[in-house]
């Protein structure tokens, strides 16, 4: 454990720690471009030069290993001069097209120019022309003139996605980051190169020209794309919706969590935000396809339910639930339908299709966000856990009614089979967010919010419970599922249902040991800071 001094502060670090990381522990950010903690060290941008006593020249903090007694100055005249010089070099051939660059506002060139640059241009000669607007793959577009050749993207595709699409070609100031001839940047993680590109060379084709980043607010969240539960940052607009095709949510970005997703997310998760406000969202309650007010539709739904139960008994009804509901929603559903109404058929299991496989980075075959909790919470009372079984029993006439919680059965079982099975039903409710074959097959449709419009927790495949806040308000007439449950309970004259997720989680913890750990911030505590992409 060497002890070193950085800017007059002593710190003890594990052997092998690089100076840049040691400084980080002291809260000192040494400007850097090519260094990324999850990638191998390139040492090529030379932005992190610092002065180390007894060294013959400046040393790069990203490669130099901290040793005992080392004395580092990150802000000496020499170090500052070197940094400004490196920035001047990097800008010498840079097009300075910030006004039309999507990276503006979150660009490390802009940032360091303001903090450590501020030199006047000494350039009297022309800049070098390079490739502009080259589409690299389905998600990423390249402006080679903006590239500072830090090689982060090259190392990402070599070391993380292991797909090897990118390389640096030519020499000297004609060096250029490009894709290998005939090879598109098309891998399940390609969007990450946009995040790690410190400048506007690699931009997201999807986000491009939609909105200036300074109009965005951010909240931390959890991706619901699969059972991994990658930590994300939701960037959204609070005003000026005309900037983003009228949508509030502009993008998902990965949020660093070493225990879950490291620095990355997959493309499927990254672009899953698009459906959150698409035209398939259910925005008003409906009966038999006709929109109605909440009151009248709820009244009809409750009446149908009560009539059915008195005629056929509760055991003729199946609850079919998505395994992506929050822990709180699952627990409330279990309390309401399982323990309260004594329904025995609660099904959530749909085996992943053959196209879905675990990979060795993040992606899980299970595309549900919360199968872990479903297994814990519903298993105790349910006697029909597989959706296939419920379908078969419906087709055999044994199940005569469905209550569907945000589960689209079409992709797994085929739209026609669902429509046909539903025809035989005496009554059906669909509580969910999107119009699909299942919602269209159900009589009463009650629109619920998506995860960015509600607060809750989900449990990933490894059992990790993770919290997500409501980022934006409910779209249209949609309501959080907990509130719909409460309204239904009222109509059915059942005990009151708690709608505050934090309090539901508390009860959940009392019933299930796994959820006993506190997750919600104590009421007075400040919200956890949103970590930025490094």
């Amino acid at each position: 454990m060497p002890t070193l001094t950085i800017d007059n502060q002593e710190i003890k670090v594990p052997a092998g720690t690089r100076v840049i990381e040691a400084a980080k522990l002291l809260g000192i950010e040494i400007p850097h471009y090519c260094y990324h903690p999850a990638l191998s060290i390139a040492g090529s941008c030379r932005m992190c030069l610092v002065e180390i006593e007894k060294f013959p020249k400046l040393a790069i903090a990203c490669h130099t290993v901290a040793t005992d007694g080392m004395i580092v100055h990150t802000n000496s005249d020499k170090a500052e001069h070197a940094r400004t010089s490196m920035l001047e070099f990097l800008l010498a051939n840079h097009p300075l097209d910030c006004p039309v660059c999507d990276q503006a506002g979150e660009c490390k060139l802009q940032q360091y120019y303001m903090t450590v640059g501020r030199h006047n241009s000494a350039l009297l000669d022309n800049k070098i022309k390079k490739t502009k607007a080259r589409v690299l793959g389905p998600h990423v577009i390249l402006d080679s003139e903006r590239c500072i050749l830090c090689s982060r993207c090259v190392r990402f595709t070599a070391e993380i996605s292991k797909s090897h699409e990118l390389g640096i070609f030519n020499r000297g100031d004609h060096s250029e980051l490009l894709n290998y001839p005939g090879k598109a940047l098309d891998n399940p993680y390609s969007g990450n190169v946009v995040d790690i590109c410190p400048v506007g060379a690699l931009t997201d084709r999807d986000f491009r020209f939609k909105v200036r980043v300074w109009y965005l607010d951010s909240k931390p969240s959890i991706c619901h794309g699969c059972a991994r539960g990658c930590n994300i940052r939701v960037d959204y607009l609070r005003r000026r919706f005309h900037h983003n095709d009228g949508k509030r949510i502009a993008r998902f970005k990965p949020r660093h969590n070493p225990d879950v997703n490291g620095h990355w997310i997959c493309d499927a998760g990254r672009y899953s935000y698009k459906q959150l406000e698409n035209e398939d969202r259910l925005l008003t309650p409906q009966v038999d396809g006709t929109p109605g007010g909440w009151d009248s539709v709820l009244a009809g739904a409750a009446k149908a339910f009560a009539g059915h139960v008195s005629e056929f008994g509760v055991n003729s009804i199946a609850l079919i639930t998505s395994a992506s509901l929050s822990n709180e929603e699952m627990f409330t559903a279990q309390e309401l339908f399982g323990n309260g109404l004594k329904m025995e058929k609660i099904a959530w299991r749909i085996p992943p299709g053959p196209e879905n496989k675990d990979d060795d980075l993040l992606i899980r075959a299970d595309k549900n966000a919360n199968s872990f909790a479903a297994e814990k919470i519903f298993t105790s009372t349910s006697r029909a856990k597989d959706v296939e079984e419920v379908l078969a029993k419906t087709e055999a006439g044994k199940i005569k009614a469905w209550i569907v919680l945000d589960a689209d059965l079409g992709p797994a079982f085929g739209d026609e089979r669902i429509a046909k099975a539903a025809e035989s039903l005496r009554f059906s409710w669909y509580l969910g967010s999107y119009r699909n074959a299942t919602s269209q097959a159900c009589r009463f449709v009650l629109p619920s919010t998506v995860f960015t419009e509600k607060e809750g927790t989900v449990t990933n495949f490894a059992g990790r419970v993770q919290h997500f806040p409501a980022v934006v308000s409910p779209l249209g007439g949609a309501l959080p599922l907990l509130e719909i449950f409460a309204k239904l309970a009222g109509r059915l004259e059942l005990p009151t249902v708690e709608t505050n997720p934090a309090r539901v989680y508390q009860s959940l913890g009392q019933s299930f040991e796994h959820f006993a750990q506190p997750i919600y911030a104590a009421p007075t505590a400040k919200a956890a800071p949103t970590s930025k992409v490094s």
């Binding site: 030379r46 490669h63 070197a82 010498a92 050749l149 020499r171 100031d173 004609h174």
Partner: protein
């Protein structure tokens, strides 16, 4: 006295039989009777410096090999010879390839390496063929291959041709290229002696350095050392080019006076010409004025004079040479050869080239000389490998020592163009 160049003028000196008639392969036989450590000690005592450019003592480099590393060790001979003004290695490989092979055998025995790569400049097609032929002859004679002179010591020598990049002469870039990777220099540490070819301990030495090893064995370290100057043992090949009557490669003791090399050995200047400048150690070494050339050509004396012995490629420039144009040629070379990996060298060499090209084409601006110097100084010490420095030192040297040549261009440019401040304001 001649050592390495002794057989250069012997007809068919590249053939094994001719070479053996002239003393070839006697030193390796002697060396095989010696303990490897004894050989290393002799090389240290000989003060044999690395003749590729940096002048690092060869014996000391060999002793840096880790003793406890179980991985194989490699010897890599640097035959990339890319430094402008330098052509000595080519002479050795053309005229006495077996001398180089003998040196390789002794060095391999000394450092316990069984594979040697000769990384040869791509343009040296003829030399690569000569080396291949020499290796085949040595193999057929039982000097190389499974056994070396009957001793249970296998040694393979592989000729690997480069593809024409100056930067691949830099040892770590060379190793990357040898491994089939892009020729980008590596970060140090680790140094090649610890982690080199395929991350195994590797010694990289220049052709000339290795070719002197047989002579260290023949003469003994102490005798060899005494031929040169203090801490600069033996002799070396000086490549003299430019404005002299007899350009060529001259083998002389280390420490020979530069003035004597130019005026006696290389025949002096052409009639009626005046000496303007001398680049003493390959294009990367800072230029000397005529007043500064009365000095011994060894590593330490040139360093003391603010220049470098480098590859000992002496470029003589007389009063017919326009130094700004000469500097522009150099700037173009370095900008073209910068590998582009690190920021200061990639951007700085290109920028200096642009400025110098513009000065030559349309005259300079008053800010140009200072800006050139500033750019050069911002590269120095901040790049990954020494190419950045090599590109900058000439600029600083020329600008500082020959300001009047720049002033002429600036005067021309400033009268022809709007003032630079006006241009800068527009930009």
């Amino acid at each position: 006295m001649k050592l390495v160049s002794k057989n250069f003028d012997v007809p068919d000196s590249h053939k094994l039989a001719v070479c053996e008639q002239n003393g070839g392969y006697t030193r390796i036989r002697k060396a095989l009777e010696m303990e490897p450590q004894t050989i290393i000690d002799e090389v240290i005592a000989a003060n044999l410096r690395g003749l590729g450019g940096a002048g690092f003592p060869a014996g000391r480099k060999w002793s840096f090999l880790p003793k406890d590393n179980p991985k194989p060790r490699y010897l890599v001979v640097n035959a990339d010879e890319g430094e402008p003004g330098t052509c000595k290695d080519k002479y050795i490989m053309t005229n006495d390839p077996h001398l180089l092979l003998e040196g390789i055998m002794i060095a391999s025995w000394a450092i316990n390496s069984h594979t040697c790569f000769i990384y040869i400049r791509g343009e040296y097609v003829k030399q690569a063929k000569i080396l291949e032929a020499a290796i085949a002859e040595a193999k057929a004679a039982g000097y190389l291959g499974d056994k070396m002179f009957g001793k249970d010591f296998p040694l393979e020598v592989v000729v690997h041709r480069g593809a024409g990049a100056y930067i691949c002469g830099e040892e770590t870039s060379l190793l990357n290229s040898l491994e089939g990777k892009r020729g980008w220099p590596r970060l140090k540490p680790p140094f090649p002696a610890v982690e080199g070819y395929l991350a195994c301990p590797t010694i990289v030495n220049n052709v000339e350095t290795i070719s002197y090893v047989p002579w260290v064995i023949e003469l003994g370290g102490e005798k060899f050392a005494s031929l040169g100057s203090e801490r600069n043992g033996g002799m070396r090949l000086y490549s003299v080019s430019g404005c002299v009557k007899k350009p060529g490669v001259y083998e002389l003791p280390l420490g020979t006076n530069l003035k004597d090399i130019i005026f006696e050995h290389a025949g002096g200047l052409f009639e009626g010409r005046r000496l303007k400048a001398v680049i003493p150690g390959g294009s990367s070494s800072p230029v000397l004025t005529p007043d500064e050339i009365d000095l011994p050509m060894d590593f330490d004396s040139l360093a003391a004079a603010g220049s470098m012995l480098g590859s000992a490629g002496i470029i003589v420039l007389d009063d017919t040479i326009n130094l700004v144009e000469a500097l522009a040629v150099l700037a173009r070379f370095y900008a073209h050869e910068s590998c582009g990996q690190c920021t200061p060298c990639r951007e700085g060499t290109g920028w200096m080239r642009k400025i110098l090209d513009r000065i030559v084409a349309e005259g300079g601006r008053s800010v140009d000389p200072a800006n050139l110097e500033r750019i050069a100084k911002n590269i120095i010490g901040n790049s990954i490998c020494p190419l950045g420095e090599a590109a900058s030192l000439p600029v600083i040297g020329f600008a500082a020592k020959f300001p009047e040549e720049f002033a002429e261009y600036v005067a021309r440019g400033e009268t022809a163009k709007p003032s630079t401040t006006a241009v800068a304001a527009v930009i």
